[in-house]
Symmetry: C2
Subunit: 245 residues, 2 copies
């Protein structure tokens, strides 16, 4: 009625739909880094031709969520440790910018919306990890979207997704309790309006998320399959020596 008939999205932005679906599957770790994404399979799954699937993969590759190599099946991106560190560094600066613009400028409605989101995070705390990771990420995107700066929104979303991806790669079982609390502190500081304080809060929040995840450079360069498999290459104690041996 308003601008575009938005019931069931008849404008059929099919590549957008696929992108959203894949993005979500990736950050919920239903698709782990390295997972294959053949065009045929995607097309069939979403009821479209390879053309569309291919285009969607192109977009996701531009966002850094998918790796595309010529003549090879697309895979979910596997960021190296260094890339993860870099991503967090950038993210910190971008999100400091977000809260700087937002401090003291949020309406009551917006603050309520933020609180509601954190409540949802709280509820999901005992559910599957994937959900709480996604909600934590979406909190930051919600924040960014309140700047109403399309460019900033896009960049923060993109890098938040990438960071989320690395969490699933490097992070231990993931205890997000403190993070949730930090989100509440952020909201309060934003409402209070001291830009410097909020920026510093955001900085430390992201820093601690990053260091919780990237507990020291676990692997010199994480992309080498040999390195990744190293910890698993120890002889499994008293296990299968092969029944025939």
């Amino acid at each position: 009625m308003t601008r575009e008939d938005n019931r069931s999205r008849p404008a059929t932005d099919r590549v957008g739909t696929i992108c959203r679906a894949l993005r979500r599957a990736i950050i919920e770790q239903a698709l782990e880094p390295g997972a294959k994404l053949p065009e045929d399979a995607l097309g069939e799954r979403f009821g479209v031709s390879r053309t569309i699937a291919r285009h969607a993969l192109g977009q996701l590759a531009a966002e850094g969520l998918v790796e595309l190599r010529r003549n090879r099946i697309a895979v979910v991106a596997t960021p190296s440790w260094q890339e993860a560190r870099d991503a967090f560094d950038i993210r910190i600066e971008l999100e400091r910018l977000v809260v700087r613009q937002l401090a003291g400028r949020l309406t009551k409605t917006q603050i309520a919306e933020l609180h509601a989101h954190v409540d949802a995070e709280d509820e999901a705390r005992n559910g599957p990890d994937a959900i709480s990771i996604r909600l934590a990420t979406e909190f930051h995107i919600l924040l960014a979207s309140m700047t109403e700066s399309p460019i900033l929104i896009r960049y923060v979303s993109e890098i938040a997704y990438r960071c989320c991806l690395t969490l699933s790669l490097f992070s231990r079982p993931h205890s997000s309790e403190c993070a949730i609390n930090e989100h509440r502190l952020l909201i309060d500081a934003l409402a209070k309006g001291d830009a410097e304080a909020v920026m510093s809060l955001m900085h430390h929040h992201l820093d601690s998320v990053a260091s919780r995840a990237l507990v020291a450079q676990t692997r010199p360069r994480g992309r080498d399959i040999m390195d990744i498999l190293a910890p698993y290459a120890e002889p499994p104690r008293a296990a299968r020596v092969k029944a025939t041996g």
Copy 2:
């Protein structure tokens, strides 16, 4: 020899080729904001099918250089004044990060390379504006590429191109002399190694570039075609009244 047979690029990354060509045409203002980019025409021009051209447009749209609206011809992006302002704000933070990582860490070779680039800027000073704008932008990208952080490189490049696009929209005839000098100052400070100083220098450099370009909000919202055409709406003196008339 080194990594990928790069003579004449036989791996035929055709969409990449088209993207590069268009990017360059855009920042050199051969293609002005609003210029139409029909898939057929691009395909024919580059000797490929629409499929490829379309894919390239998708990538450029993801970078924000091209605007894609359903069922409509793609056009070169026309950022609003506010978007331009936002882009520069983000750019400042990103490039502060760049120089923070680079300060005191550049090799002599790299410093020489930077100086060489600024020399080139100097030489182009009396040439066409388009070239000096491009070179100025490429200086920043060169800087970013020295961080060797793919993510940072990509973001800085992308936003630098967008800012460049803005310059061509809002900027007056463009006097870049002081900017060139500021580039030299940046290099010196980088070599000296005081991170804080370089960051501040970069901040002011970009700030002044931005304010030189965005001299107060010229148009409340710059995307309205009527506003853009206002200065051109004067009656064309004694021109074509149609021979048949």
